[in-house]
């Protein structure tokens, strides 16, 4: 699906507290892409992702999707274009994994044993957990369930905020393999991460580097340059 994402003179922040400086960026390619959002703790990665997800407002500037301002878009329409995977998966729900994944199709009602749900769970290798309560499985399994839910939501853009933060080493390897597969299916993935050692062998289309000093937003293509800039800014 052809997707045009434009960030124009954007100023992010939280409760009127400004983070960094204004910046602009454009993603207009129709093929699948993986954009890694990197930067030190507190550099504004989560705030940028939450702003892109429509969970908090831009302090100034504008984000448009296919020419339509994100801030003015109806919640339901936005959910057909963008899905979001948070750092911490939900821990206090008594729904089963299958029921949570089926909710990805909201407002369409999907059964928890439907083909879409089973296929998404299969892709993430967690189909055996379909009947277990989400709060009874490990953090890593829960995170995979939330990605399966995003696959059912079937949006062209998937935003992920440090999705591997609570995963062990083998699960992280597994995780980045799934991300690469999703990129191959034509999705635009914007993923914030500190996992730079793990992504060395993953095809990353571009890096968005957020810095507190020396220019807030930089778009880079080279892995080594990203590492160098991160170290020089620390």
């Amino acid at each position: 699906m052809d997707m045009q994402l434009h960030i124009k003179n954007l100023q992010i922040g939280y409760r009127k507290k400004v983070i960094g400086e204004t910046f602009s960026a454009t993603v207009s390619e129709s093929r699948g892409q993986l954009i890694l959002l990197v930067g030190r703790n507190g550099s504004g990665k989560s705030t940028l992702l939450r702003t892109l997800a429509g969970l908090q407002s831009e302090l100034s500037g504008e984000i448009t999707l296919n020419g339509e301002a994100l801030a003015k878009m109806d919640t339901r329409k936005r959910a057909t274009l963008l899905s979001f995977v948070q750092t911490r998966p939900p821990a206090y729900t008594d729904l089963t994994v299958g029921e949570v994944v089926a909710l990805g199709a909201y407002p369409i009602q999907l059964q928890s044993d439907s083909e879409e749900v089973r296929s998404s769970l299969n892709k993430l290798g967690v189909s055996s957990l379909a009947h277990q309560r989400l709060d009874s499985i490990s953090d890593g399994e829960r995170q995979k369930a939330m990605i399966a839910r995003a696959l059912v939501q079937d949006t062209p853009i998937i935003l992920m905020d440090e999705p591997t933060a609570f995963l062990d080493y083998p699960s992280r390897i597994d995780w980045w393999r799934h991300v690469a597969e999703m990129r191959e299916t034509g999705k635009l993935l914007i993923v914030s991460t500190h996992d730079l050692a793990m992504v060395k062998d993953v095809t990353v289309d571009r890096f968005w580097l957020l810095n507190r000093k020396g220019g807030f937003f930089k778009e880079l293509n080279d892995y080594d340059e990203v590492l160098q800039q991160l170290i020089s800014n620390s």
Partner: protein, 330 residues
């Protein structure tokens, strides 16, 4: 509908049995045949008609409607605040209603049954709900919210005490009696208001079952999955406010049913989908409401036990169990 159909059957049998006990038991002994006749073909025996149709039947309907309604309020509030300790009585919502009623009765000299009491109870409930909502946005911890709710309850109680100090003896007596909670002495019209409000709110809540499922994943997930959160929040708060206020206005500030019953139903049905949870919680609330009412009028208790004492004996251990079990509650 559920993985445990026998739970539905047992609860339904229990409900019918408790309704029957409400109708057949009482200080005046009536033969089963007479009670049945008064219900189905009144006119032959005026005394039993009055006892059954004007006292026992409204009381049974009030007990089951108030029990079901408060339990539904508890479920909605626990889900809304993502807090297992939320409930109309614990978070001070019923205290807010009490203050509204106190202002109307103790200052305005209005008698019970008046619609202005419902309005007072609703305004009080909505004011406290709004304050709690504001605080919940700033502090996410369940225990902190609980303590805040308790403090609101104390402040409201202090205000009510001040009002009591400057009122007439009759108004004070009337208010204290109301505060003990009771499903008795309501007219057919008042019973009808509670029953219709409960049934209407249950139906509206049921239409929101998928939104409630989404909300159970947390506000951020719900919003990015397409939930129109502003109308959802507004609808849920108004629903909870109307239901709590209507029941509290007529039956008094009843403790613990709203908090404890949703946990009881979750334990029995082992379900998270609100399409099942809503009817399950309402049915369980009806059963608990009737059971508490029957216990409150056990033989040998002259004039009956205060309803709130009975519901507290049932509900307080549930709260302790929730605190001891910590995170595993939801």
């Amino acid at each position: 509908m559920s993985r445990k159909p026998f739970v539905w059957i047992v609860l339904l049998i229990l409900l019918i049995t408790l309704i029957a006990l409400e109708l057949f038991l009482g200080s005046v002994q009536l033969p089963v045949r007479e009670v049945w006749q008064s219900l189905t073909a009144p006119g032959d025996n005026l005394t039993s008609d009055i006892i059954v149709r004007q006292a026992r039947l409204p009381r049974a309907l009030t007990a089951l409607s108030a029990g079901g309604g408060l339990a539904l309020c508890g479920l909605l509030m626990q889900r809304f605040f993502q807090n297992p300790l939320a409930g109309p009585s614990v978070l001070g919502i019923t205290s807010g209603s009490s203050l509204g009623v106190a202002l109307i009765i103790l200052l305005g000299g209005v008698t019970f049954g008046s619609y202005s009491i419902v309005l007072g109870a609703f305004t009080g409930a909505m004011v406290v709900l709004s304050v709690i909502l504001l605080f919940a946005g700033m502090r996410r911890s369940p225990v902190t919210l609980l303590i805040f709710g308790l403090m609101i309850g104390y402040v409201v109680s202090a205000a009510v005490t001040l009002l009591q100090a400057g009122t007439t003896r009759e108004a004070l007596r009337s208010f204290v009696f109301w505060g003990m909670g009771s499903f008795a002495d309501l007219s057919a019209g008042q019973t009808l208001i509670i029953t219709v409000t409960m049934a209407g709110c249950t139906l509206i809540a049921f239409t929101m079952h998928r939104q409630l499922d989404l909300w159970s994943l947390g506000e951020s997930y719900a919003r990015t999955m397409g939930l129109r959160h502003r109308s959802f929040r507004f609808g849920l708060l108004i629903l909870t406010g109307i239901l709590t206020a209507t029941i509290t206005a007529y039956c008094g500030p009843i403790a613990f049913i709203g908090l404890a019953v949703p946990h009881l139903a979750r334990g029995l049905w082992q379900q998270g989908r609100h399409a099942v949870l809503i009817p399950a919680v309402v049915l369980s609330g009806m059963v608990i409401g009737l059971a508490c009412d029957l216990i409150s009028r056990l033989p040998g208790t002259e004039g009956g036990l205060p309803l709130n004492a009975v519901t507290s004996f049932f509900g307080a251990p549930v709260v302790i169990a929730i605190i001891l079990r910590g995170r595993k509650v939801f």
